[in-house]
């Protein structure tokens, strides 16, 4: 008989619960009522089915034919269908209503109370300024202690690495394939990129541009006599403005009316005059391209006759304080 009693008891509990729920009164509506829209529900249903199909399509494509276009289209399709279903829901299925409320206003009494609490809390302190100064000192020292380990990030005080170049007296100039540059192969109206033989090409001081001008047209700064044998000149390929590569060489097609040869940076159009030690002719660069002194050895190949005339690359405060090393 026990199972039967249990059943009856359960029925009684369920019945009581139901009656209690029925007795509870419904509060007034907050969200206004609206008419049902079976057509919109049907549209949402269809869109959700499309989303399911596209989602399943993505999984199938992933395992069978993981093509980027198919995967992207499937995922986009699923998301677009869900998005459309939500838009239809927003426009036709949820209650359309507007609510109004006041913009929040300032609370003058609370402001005053806050100011008062802060002001009164310090009333036991007699030497406020001294204590404040001491707290500032402690905070500053602790801040310095916490910031100090950041110096480990790099060589903060040793700037020697910024003047270092792989160029040394006697080092041969080689092209991108490692073949030596021969003086006789350097044409007028063309320009060549060269690297130091056997050195690291990652260094920004490695690459130079080589051009040839009629020796009579050269107006190099004093002290650079003999830096350009047969009119062949080498300059750092790195623009002194923002570090782009000097990738353009302007040569006049008709000398009487057109400006003379110039090394040009494509980034911001800094223009350097190779005949005058790469002095800045135009553009944002602040100093000339460093010049590499050249010499021609017995085999007719180009070699460095020393180091650059100045540090390579974009300028920094103090760039002129040191020669290239």
């Amino acid at each position: 008989m026990r199972p039967r009693e249990l059943f009856v008891a359960l029925l009684a509990i369920v019945g009581l619960a139901r009656r209690r729920r029925r007795r509870r009164e419904r509060p007034a509506r907050v969200v206004p009522p609206g008419a049902p829209s079976p057509r919109a529900e049907l549209a949402v249903l269809a869109l959700l089915l499309v989303a399911a199909l596209c989602g399943a399509g993505f999984v199938v494509a992933y395992f069978v034919h993981p093509n980027t276009q198919v995967l992207g289209a499937a995922l986009a399709g699923a998301l677009a269908a869900i998005g459309a279903a939500l838009v239809v829901t927003a426009q036709h299925l949820v209650v359309t209503e507007e609510v109004e409320e006041d913009y929040p206003t300032p609370n003058p009494e609370e402001q005053e109370a806050v100011a008062q609490i802060v002001a009164e809390s310090g009333s036991r302190l007699t030497r406020k300024r001294l204590l404040g100064a001491a707290a500032g000192l402690a905070g500053g020292a602790l801040g310095a202690a916490l910031i100090a380990p950041a110096v480990s990030f790099g060589p903060l005080f040793d700037s020697s690495s910024m003047y270092a170049t792989p160029w040394r007296r006697g080092r041969r100039l080689v092209d991108v394939d490692g073949n030596p540059l021969r003086a006789e192969a350097i044409d007028f109206a063309s320009f060549y990129t060269a690297f130091p033989e056997g050195a690291d090409r990652e260094s920004i001081a490695a690459a130079v541009v080589v051009v040839r001008l009629p020796p009579a047209t050269l107006r190099l700064p004093p002290g650079r006599e003999g830096w350009a044998p047969q009119g062949i000149l080498a300059y750092s390929k790195i623009c002194t403005h923002a570090g782009c590569a000097i990738a353009l060489y302007r040569t006049p097609k008709f000398a009487p009316t057109q400006p003379g040869p110039a090394l040009v940076c494509p980034c911001h159009y800094s223009t350097f005059d190779p005949a005058r030690g790469a002095a800045v002719e135009f553009g944002p660069a602040g100093r000339p391209l460093p010049q590499l002194p050249l010499t021609i050895d017995a085999a007719g190949e180009l070699r460095a006759a020393g180091n650059f005339s100045g540090p390579v690359g974009p300028a920094w405060p103090g760039v002129r304080s040191h020669p290239a090393s």
Binding site: T68, A73, Y103, V151, G154, H241
Partner: protein, 284 residues
């Protein structure tokens, strides 16, 4: 009697947090109805897609400039010396199933994120919505724009392809040009002169995947909190819309499906772009 979290979740939550008054206000928060108010949401949802796709990418990316010789399946680059960072992005784009889709979607989302912020700011600027009491919201928004630009810059810089090298060379020039401290700043950030020491790549990586995203998320949180605290601005539409009274669609049930729909549509657009429109083909 214990409240049941499944049968009566509202009661369960309110008894333990006291959140019911806040929830009630939040559900009836008035959103003025104008399409231009969705521009900021587009930026927000692009950020959501960025975080989701970005987390996926971190599982495949190797932040190292260690040099290796490529022997992978992409024939044109076989035998070429490259960094491990570039190789990992190349592998992600060529051999990882759906890797290229996620990478391109991430890149498109970054572009849409910045574009949406700019258009959103234009709307704020030309409608005067930056004025008191919303100056802080505006300042945080402008800060967000520049943080997003820096984050995007680091994103294409860690790939270590040609674009990265060019961008970083200019970034290094900009750092060096800072008055007085420029040289020290450049050496400190780059771990030496350009192109920098081996610590530079992992440094950019942690900034791109942790420091700046956390900063962006914090700023977005502060931005949205301030928007809600002072409420949306509104266009004058009828006699009810004044400077003291805001009229709009309640966040629930009216605004919620619209906003979620916008999230799905933005994500759909980004995945469609990521799948169908090539962006930053690093293997060329």
């Amino acid at each position: 009697m214990r409240s049941d979290p499944l049968r009566d979740p509202v009661r369960f939550v309110d008894e333990r947090t006291g959140a019911a008054p806040f929830l009630r206000k939040a559900l009836r928060y008035a959103f003025p109805d104008h399409w231009s108010f969705l521009l900021g949401e587009v930026a927000l949802y692009a950020f959501v897609v960025l975080v989701a796709t970005g987390i996926y990418l971190t599982f495949f990316f190797e932040p190292s400039t260690g040099q290796i010789v490529y022997h992978g399946p992409y024939a044109p680059l076989r035998g070429v010396q490259m960094s491990e960072a570039y190789r990992s992005v190349l592998d992600l784009s060529t051999t990882v199933k759906s890797g290229l889709l996620i990478r391109q979607t991430h890149h498109w989302a970054a572009d849409v994120f910045v574009a949406a912020i700019v258009i959103h700011l234009l709307r704020i600027f030309f409608t005067g919505a930056f004025r008191k009491p919303r100056e802080l919201t505006y300042v945080i928004g402008v800060t967000l724009l520049f943080t997003a630009l820096l984050e995007g810059y680091l994103g294409y810089s860690i790939v270590d392809d040609l674009l990265s090298g060019m961008g970083l060379a200019i970034g290094n020039g900009v750092a060096l040009s800072a008055p007085v401290v420029g040289g020290a700043l450049g050496r400190l950030l780059w771990d030496g002169p350009f192109p920098g020491g081996p610590a530079f790549e992992p440094r950019m990586f942690i900034a791109h995947v942790l420091l700046l995203p956390v900063l962006l998320a914090t700023l977005i949180g502060a931005h949205l909190t301030l928007v809600a605290a002072r409420h949306h601005t509104q266009f004058r539409r009828d006699a009810r819309t004044t400077e003291r009274r805001v009229v709009g669609i309640p966040s629930f049930p009216g605004q919620a499906p619209r906003s979620l729909g916008l999230l799905a549509l933005v994500a759909a657009l980004l995945f469609a772009l990521g799948g169908l429109v090539q962006i930053n083909p690093i293997w060329l």
